[in-house]
């Protein structure tokens, strides 16, 4: 199993493909990107995730050359490209709404970049045929963008961006315009394509499922800064801040204060949920005002209190009443009003067909979870 500690880029090893070094960008009085530093390795599938307005698109546009950073460096293979205009960068971009040329056929759209590169006619034709086969658009070469479906347009945009064999492919919300079913299959195709070509992809998305599925590493951005850079698993299981914890996935946050510390465990006295046992975080600050975070699927429910603690240590038990049941198909989400006043969201897999909705509203239950599944974060 993969370690949950962050992998820090190792100093001294060969330069990364892309090094973003303290890059900042302001628009008037608004700071869009605020001193972001990031290394991207060759062959990596990296996702920039964040709410709208967090600066992820501005950062991507600076990588493509459509915006010039006010400060910092963008090193591509060691050379600073921050001031290089877009048409001279060995980087290509797949645009959010594809930005296909409406007056050109599929073939001419794909060949556009090759023509500008001054490639010979025969070579262009061969390369276009290769790309058309790669993204499975055979037979549609003469169509115009408006005669294509959304999924086909997405593939034309991808082929066009890949045509010049970029060292780095930037994808701006590549799947946002597709419907749910198509998005899932396209995600798999995109991932397979990236592995097959061994290219470096940076994708910007506001959709965390998409980032989780696609990326080797995710950079979560908030208000122009990188809040955390980690693998999807680290991000979900070991968020470094309350903001990241709440932004990625669903989580229960219970505020409290540290009242005791014993044998690698913290005792956190909360207002709404009594005293909780939690692990000592790696980088515990001096603050005693903290919050305990627990993912809904890490909590168990039972109609009578669990007799024993399977882990041997103290487990957290909370008495409460089911207030609300949300049936989602594969799982149900129970809202439990605790005796102490707090509410917990608990997600249970509907593993058996006939036992679905095992708990009903109004039923008294015990919610319990292992201290190891809690995360202690600064408020």
């Amino acid at each position: 199993m993969e370690a949950l500690s962050d992998t820090t880029p190792q100093a001294g090893t060969a330069l990364p493909l892309l090094r973003i070094d303290a890059v900042g960008k302001r628009f008037g009085g608004f700071t869009a990107v605020d001193g972001v530093s990031l290394d991207i390795r060759a062959g990596e599938f990296f996702a920039l995730l964040g709410p709208s307005g967090c600066g992820k698109t501005t950062l991507l546009r600076m990588l493509a050359g459509f915006e010039t950073p006010d400060s910092g460096k963008i090193l591509l293979n060691g050379a600073d490209v921050a001031q290089v205009p877009p048409h001279l960068r060995p980087v290509n971009m797949m645009f959010q709404n594809y930005a296909l040329f409406p007056h050109l056929s599929v073939r001419d759209n794909i060949a556009f970049g090759l023509r500008r590169a001054g490639m010979r006619r025969a070579d262009i034709a061969a390369r276009v045929a290769e790309l058309v086969a790669l993204v499975r658009l055979e037979g549609l070469e003469k169509r115009r963008p408006e005669q294509l479906s959304g999924g086909q347009r997405q593939r034309v945009a991808l082929a066009r961006a890949l045509a010049r064999r970029p060292q780095l492919l930037l994808l701006d919300e590549p799947l946002a315009a597709l419907d749910k079913k198509l998005r899932d299959s396209t995600q798999r195709e995109l991932l397979a394509l990236q592995r097959k070509l061994g290219l470096t992809f940076i994708v910007v998305t506001h959709d965390q499922d998409e980032a989780m599925t696609l990326a080797d590493r995710i950079g979560v951005m908030n208000a122009g800064r990188l809040a955390q850079v980690a693998t999807p698993r680290q991000l979900y299981e070991a968020p470094r801040s309350r903001w990241v914890a709440e932004f990625v996935g669903d989580i229960n946050i219970i505020e409290g204060r540290i009242t005791a510390r014993e044998a690698g465990r913290l005792r956190v006295t909360t207002e709404g949920a009594g005293v909780l046992a939690a692990p000592v975080p790696r980088d515990l600050s001096d603050a005693t005002e903290v919050c305990v975070a627990i993912r809904p699927e890490k909590i168990r429910l039972s109609s009578r209190p669990p007799v024993d603690d399977p882990a041997g240590g103290a487990i957290n038990r909370l008495e409460g009443t089911i207030r609300d049941v949300g049936y989602l198909g594969s799982a149900s989400v129970y809202t439990v009003a605790l005796a102490g006043g707090a509410t917990l969201r608990v997600s249970l897999a509907n593993a058996a067909r006939l036992h679905a909705d095992a708990y009903g509203a109004g039923q008294r239950v015990t919610a319990w979870f292992s201290p190891d599944d809690c995360i202690v974060l600064d408020r």
């Binding site: 493509a64 050359g65 048409h87 290509n92 971009m93 040329f101 007056h103 970049g113 500008r116 961006a161």
Partner: protein, 303 residues
């Protein structure tokens, strides 16, 4: 189902309305002009012979149809005054349209690139001349272009010329007046097309290795062709029939067809020949319309 009918009936009426308008205010009057063009001039009030009388019954109508006279059209073809003025109209309109495109495109392009909040102001500045009467603006040009007018004063003061240049009653003066008067009609459709262009398309072109000039040539220009077509048509058609500007600013040696028409109607009082000239003008003007329509259709359905 009845609900649906209630909805579609007014909608259909709305679709028919423009056609009704065209029939009532274009086709019917044109019918009068056509009828008039087949008549003969006469010393009467109105100054022409009736071709046929709709009140005279069907028999009389058929008889009249058999004895229709195309003499007026024969005259148009035999006297080269009409052909020459038609040809001059086409030349002048084509040249002016080309000049308008050369001047109007950069202006419209620059407007579309302004920050969004400045664009309405730029648009206002283009439209503002319309607040003054067209005729007054042409007279103002006479003032500027005359012997001791503003233009000559400036040129003399800057020592670009040593003696006043004759501007008035030349083709140059006419072209200045025409370009000035029609420029908004060229800029507005061009601006409408250019401002709707997705800026991401130019970014995509740049991303794929196009220099700014190549981006313009390969993406912006082809995609603005509908605006070029609309602007050119909007200017070309009234320019062909233009009367006031050549009459006031150009010399009198080679009239445009609008001037010839005016001459026939007011000076010669030959309404039938004037009407025939008007019909000829319309036929000439149908040609660019048909070409534009073809072009638009091809744009829409090209595989």
């Amino acid at each position: 189902m009845s609900g649906r009918n209630l909805f579609t009936r007014p909608a259909r009426l709305a679709a028919i309305a423009p056609y009704g308008w065209m029939v009532l205010f274009f086709l019917v009057p044109f019918g009068f002009v056509l009828k008039l063009s087949l008549s003969q001039v006469a010393n009467a009030q109105p100054p022409y012979l009736p071709v046929f009388d709709l009140g005279a019954g069907w028999q009389a109508l058929v008889a009249a149809a058999g004895s229709l006279s195309f003499d007026n059209f024969r005259l148009l073809l035999s006297d080269d005054l009409y052909l020459l003025s038609g040809l001059r109209s086409l030349t002048v309109a084509t040249t002016t349209t080309a000049l308008l495109l050369l001047i109007g495109y950069p202006i419209a392009y620059a407007m579309s690139r302004l920050p969004r909040r400045w664009q309405p102001l730029a648009m206002m500045l283009v439209i503002v001349p319309f607040w003054t009467s067209f005729l007054i603006r042409v007279y103002a040009w006479i003032n500027i272009l005359q012997h001791d007018g503003l233009l000559n004063q400036v040129l003399l003061a800057l020592r670009i010329v040593s003696a006043p240049v004759v501007w008035l009653s030349t083709d140059t003066a006419m072209y200045i007046g025409m370009v000035y008067s029609y420029l908004p009609f060229m800029i507005l459709p061009l601006y409408a097309t250019l401002s709707k262009l997705d800026p991401a398309l130019c970014e995509a072109a740049a991303d794929l290795g196009s220099s700014p000039l190549q981006s313009f040539w390969r993406v912006t220009l082809p995609l603005s062709l509908p605006g070029v077509g609309a602007g050119a048509l909007l200017c070309f058609i009234p320019l062909v029939g233009e009367f006031v500007i050549p009459d006031l600013l150009a010399g009198s040696d080679s009239p445009m067809i609008g001037q010839t028409l005016w001459l026939e109607f007011f000076t010669n009082r030959d309404w039938p020949v004037a009407a025939a000239t008007a019909v000829m003008l319309l036929v000439i003007l149908l040609l660019p319309l048909v070409i534009y329509d073809r072009f638009q259709r091809r744009q829409m359905v090209r595989p």
